[in-house]
Symmetry: C2
Subunit: 375 residues, 2 copies
Amino acid sequence: MSKFEYKLIKNDANARLGKIITAHGEIDTPVFMPVGTAATVKALRVDDIKKSNSQIILANTYHLMLRPGENIINQLGGVRKFMNWDGPLLTDSGGFQVMSLGNLRTINEEGVTFKSQLDGSKFFLTPEKSIQIQHLLGSTITMCFDECIQLPASFENTKNSMELSMRWADRSLSAYKEREGYAIFGIIQGGTYKELRELSATHLRNLNFPGYAIGGLAVGEGQEKMFETIEYTEPFMDTDKPRYLMGVGKPEDIIGAVKRGIDMFDCVLPTRSGRNGQAFTSRGEINIKNARHTKDPRALDEACDCNTCKNYSRAYLHHLFKANEILGLMLLSDHNINFYQNMMMGIRISIKNGNFENFSETFLLKRAGGDILES
Amino acid sequence: MSKFEYKLIKNDANARLGKIITAHGEIDTPVFMPVGTAATVKALRVDDIKKSNSQIILANTYHLMLRPGENIINQLGGVRKFMNWDGPLLTDSGGFQVMSLGNLRTINEEGVTFKSQLDGSKFFLTPEKSIQIQHLLGSTITMCFDECIQLPASFENTKNSMELSMRWADRSLSAYKEREGYAIFGIIQGGTYKELRELSATHLRNLNFPGYAIGGLAVGEGQEKMFETIEYTEPFMDTDKPRYLMGVGKPEDIIGAVKRGIDMFDCVLPTRSGRNGQAFTSRGEINIKNARHTKDPRALDEACDCNTCKNYSRAYLHHLFKANEILGLMLLSDHNINFYQNMMMGIRISIKNGNFENFSETFLLKRAGGDILES
């Protein structure tokens, strides 16, 4: 079994090419992690995910503890065996969902009491409990339990929340059971306050986590604020540890964050958009339900070599969405994950070749140019 | 290009092992054709269909003429290219849907006027029009346009309807454009009246169609009546032409019809049931939503080697259905199609080995025995 380790292979300005070694396989960074909330990346088969060159996926502790429950999953060999995914798995801690799903909840020093969105039953989640659940789920990378506050928030509220999250980080780390090739990541909080981000990052660095996440972003603060926050947080993160920007994002967000030294990303956007008929392409987003695609024999993205683009016309995909056919969701989700993973591949190759800046400019310019209308 | 041809390889009592040669590939019979109503076999990717050893699929003229329309499909290279299916394709004529979808319709000698289920617009479908649409769809096997009446029906009504269908068969055949390796099948009508079935079959045989279907069954008459009808119709069908029992059926129906000399089947059951959580297994049907599967680590069917059964537990599939995850529909549909195709393979091998009777007895007995409850 290999030790959990991040190897920095090359810097290109602040962009980083690296590799994460885990008990369940290696991960080339910068990496995008498809989201498999309920132990399935929605509408995708595991071999589709593999074919897209996805190397690690994310699952949600909150959803899985409510249904089917961590004990059932544990008895069946953990999330990876349960869903037939043999690569590395990252689980979030549940903190974000307790916030975002807006359940009636009360927070105290000990933890969070909330009601299940499924049946109203009461749950009490603590750092210790979250870490134990993630252990039972068999996560390769466990995330600390934190409080995620909604922005905008006052300095005082943000400070109090961050400090609570740091005390919970201490407790999370204590509760975590070390296993070779597994890891627990700390989550830097502090909203959009430089001073607080520095305090949080420094606190976690002193605890010597094997990896760090920037949490509490991508919650409505806007791209500019997000990039700014990354910029002043990044210097306080170790260079020999992976850095994970949680819940991000659009292709443009990812490019900008890689430029600022981020290694890991996750987002529901490619799969959720795919189910809604939105396709990511090298020339920007298109809505396949739009009538202009009715007779269009072209691929979604002529620069893409995924199964969907190689084999199906926009006209066919348009038809599937109009007819509410499940295959439409499957093919668009598959394409979008491939688009994201091809982008990540392009990012990694360009860092390797020392021309990430050039790659990203070309990429962004082409996308900003928009779709070519059928002639 | 090969001539369209049926080769009878071997009889085992009345069961027939054969091969159909078409412009788009060979078909081993007895064959089950998955239904791809709107140019997609619901929730299945084309390579899933291929992997299940499906050799021909069916699409519905009625649905495709309404949406996206036969001209759009024709411009995009026909249904096969449109949906990326390179094997043979059979299309029904639309007659059955005009009946079953219960649209306001009026029938006269010329054809059927009906309202679109999608937008209420009026359509007039005639034998000539149906054959032309199927031509534009690029069907390997075109079906005659017929009137399908609901059972029970009086002798007089059934006779009038059958005679109309026979006049429409003449017109369908005249309208059909021959192409090497393509074919048009006549449809025998006559309800459950022996005399009428004989008249209809004889009429079509005199027209020398390359294949025959038995239509107007599996509409509520029950298995006994259906088998009886096949038995007295079969002697009037050529032995050197394929025989297709339309819209059938459950595994037990197929076994019984093969025994009575039928070569081809189609049915929505495996895919529709799959989407509803019902799985076909060698020990009968199971409903995966049932709570007894919550923690069950076993495969749906331990006798099955499909992707779903090799890689997923009943507990996982149960979870996917409880969580309304699309992957659940995908995996169950895939399994069910594999179950059907494995059954067809078993049928063909047993006819080849001259022990079809023994195979079918064992198969039926095991299914009647029911699922083994978890110990």
